[in-house]
């Protein structure tokens, strides 16, 4: 490289970077939503208990959304995490009850989730089956296994009341539920993996184009197996948080989470097409999804309307994000619609 001095040194601060704060639109939506809730139901939303319950109920779903953000960044999808919640939750409950060893149970839950992930990753990357297909299959299989092993019964874990594991994973710190800190911790780690680690960069390139990723020397097989393994392990951890929160295990736990966790990622602004993703977006997306339910009911709208409103928010958010990411697409659509009319 030549050493000719540059007349203009490279600008130290990129103005675009400042204007493009990650997840800004969804953060605004989040605060507007809080504002609306406070406006319509001040008796509920001006007091701590509702926020306390959000901080207990949202974290397991948020951890799943964070893992899914990486999966979707790589242009893949994982629909098997509800089965991980079922099976890992069972492993945790079973080990805890049989051996009285909840920490071993935590390890078993995470290892079980990771194993499901390895199998998914192998079938997807090595055999070459599209992830949307195979994770539907493995989802049936593993939730079936969970039902068989548990005999379809729910287990109570009252014995864990007051134990260390319950305090650390599901207690309170300074009056705030510990689950919230765990979810925040996972969010920070996932952000650094995606944006600053070699592995995250490989996922982004794989999502951008698998062909390009291969050509630049990325081991697309190994990285995708690692990805699904990580997703499985996060699912196992989320399963333990969920089981501890209720202090009981039931084989159908996690079934309601499929759409919520996915919706959180897409509301957050992660592209369906892979290659770009926002962890901050998924974080606030999960908060929004988690709050809508209780929030809508508290404002006095009948509970039947909850899903209608969630659906509207979802579709509006995805369209909004496409408009922000790719204004040309909106203009093109406009032209096409009006020229035909």
């Amino acid at each position: 490289m030549s050493d000719t001095p540059l007349k203009q040194p490279a600008p130290a601060l990129n103005p675009r970077a400042a204007a493009k704060l990650e997840g800004l639109p969804i953060i605004i939506v989040f605060f507007v939503l809080i504002g609306l809730f406070v406006g319509f139901a001040p008796t509920v939303f001006l007091h701590w208990p509702i926020y306390n319950s959000f901080l207990v109920t949202i974290p397991p779903m948020m951890i799943l959304s964070l893992g899914l953000t990486l999966v979707i960044a790589a242009g893949e999808i994982d629909l098997s995490f509800p089965a991980v919640i079922a099976l890992s939750g069972f492993l945790f409950a079973h080990v805890t009850r049989t051996y009285d060893a909840p920490w071993l149970g935590l390890l078993a839950a995470i290892a079980g989730g990771a194993l499901i992930g390895v199998v998914n990753g192998f079938l997807i990357a090595v055999i070459g089956i599209p992830s949307i297909i195979i994770t539907i299959g493995t989802s049936f299989f593993w939730s079936g296994i969970a039902t068989v092993l548990s005999g379809g019964m729910s287990y109570t874990l009252e014995r864990l009341t007051g134990t260390a594991i319950n305090g650390i994973l599901s207690g309170t710190v300074l009056g705030i539920p510990s689950e919230a800190f765990w979810a925040l911790g996972v969010a920070v780690v996932v952000w650094f993996i995606l944006n600053r680690h070699r592995f995250g960069e490989h996922l982004l390139f794989i999502g951008d184009s698998r062909e390009v990723a291969r050509v630049v020397g990325i081991n697309t097989l190994r990285e995708r197996i690692k990805l699904f393994t990580l997703m499985g392990a996060l699912g196992g951890f989320a399963a333990v948080l969920l089981t501890l929160e209720n202090l009981s295990y039931f084989p159908t736990q996690g079934q309601g989470m499929l759409l919520s966790a996915l919706a959180a990622v897409f509301i957050g602004g992660t592209s369906v097409f892979g290659g770009t993703a926002t962890v901050v977006g998924s974080f606030f997306g999960a908060l929004i999804i988690g709050m809508l339910d209780a929030g809508i009911v508290a404002t006095g709208v009948a509970g039947f309307w909850v899903e209608v409103i969630v659906g509207l928010v979802f579709v509006a958010a995805v369209v909004l994000h496409i408009g922000i990411d790719d204004p040309a697409r909106i203009r093109q659509l406009q032209r096409r619609l009006f020229s035909k009319a």
Binding site: M1, N14, R196, E201, G275
Partner: protein, 264 residues
């Protein structure tokens, strides 16, 4: 480092000896013998499906051959250990047509992907990568004042600029062999000129290149030697000085006729 030390002297940067590739029953390459000198620009021409892409993919570790030998800097290559990453280590770089850059990724990622500057935990030193990317853009590629910096995504670049980025990346990593797969296809004339200038920089900097090109005029003007592939075989080795562009065109048309004759 590599046992095929890039710093020792050598006659040929790469030499293929009876290299064959088959996909099932289809023979994509048959008995390819090809040697490329250390500062030679070799133009690779041939019809679609002649085996050009397969040949360069084999040379760069993307596709393993069915049989044959490969020598890099006169040293034999062990196929079991040969991969894209290994080819990178041996300072081979490929500029694939539309396939070597991540569209949605910023240039600072595209320059370093696969060879990131990281700490020992694998975290990327973003600031350093960004600074070097900006230096390459401004000094090596002359992208000054065109509104492109390390944070631009590839999607914002023109076709010629993309090829420039890929070539700049290859030069930054000190590639000794740069492989260009139809870099001027689908480019406007002004953009083509940029790319041809980038190729001249490769020659001037003492490196070797394999240049796949459909446009005979471009390759005839730039290459030291032209290798013609047809149905997986090398059918001619031509020095541009010995054959005019018009004769070359006629030669290739004749080749087409025999192909049609053979098929009938």
């Amino acid at each position: 480092m590599a046992d095929t030390n890039p710093n020792r002297t050598y006659e040929h940067i790469v030499r293929a000896d009876k290299l064959s590739v088959a996909f099932g029953k289809v023979r994509a390459l048959s008995d390819i013998d090809l040697a490329i000198g250390r500062n030679e620009i070799v133009g690779l021409i041939g019809d679609n499906g002649a085996g050009k892409s397969t040949l360069i993919k084999t040379l760069t570790g993307v596709i393993p051959p069915t049989s044959g030998h490969l020598f890099i800097r006169d040293q034999p290559v062990d196929w079991a250990n040969f991969s894209v990453r290994r080819a990178h280590d041996l300072r081979f770089e490929t500029v694939y047509q539309e396939k070597s850059l991540g569209e949605k990724q910023p240039l600072w990622r595209n320059f370093f992907v696969g060879r990131q500057i990281t700490n020992r935990f694998g975290f990327i030193k973003v600031r350093e990568q960004r600074r070097i990317a900006n230096e390459i853009l401004q000094r090596q590629l002359g992208f000054r004042g065109v509104g492109i910096d390390a944070d631009s995504t590839v999607a914002k670049l023109s076709g010629g600029e993309r090829q420039g980025i890929a070539i700049g990346r290859a030069m930054h990593f000190d590639a000794d062999l740069i492989i260009l797969d139809e870099p001027t296809t689908a480019l406007a004339i002004k953009e083509v000129q940029k790319v041809l200038d980038f190729v001249r920089r490769i020659k001037a900097s003492g490196r070797a290149a394999i240049y796949i090109e459909h446009n005979l005029a471009h390759v005839h003007a730039l290459a030291d030697r032209l290798v013609v592939l047809d149905r997986g075989r090398i059918v001619a080795n031509i020095r541009p000085a010995d054959m005019s562009l018009a004769d070359l065109t006629l030669f290739l048309i004749d080749l087409q006729k025999t192909k049609i004759g053979a098929a009938a």
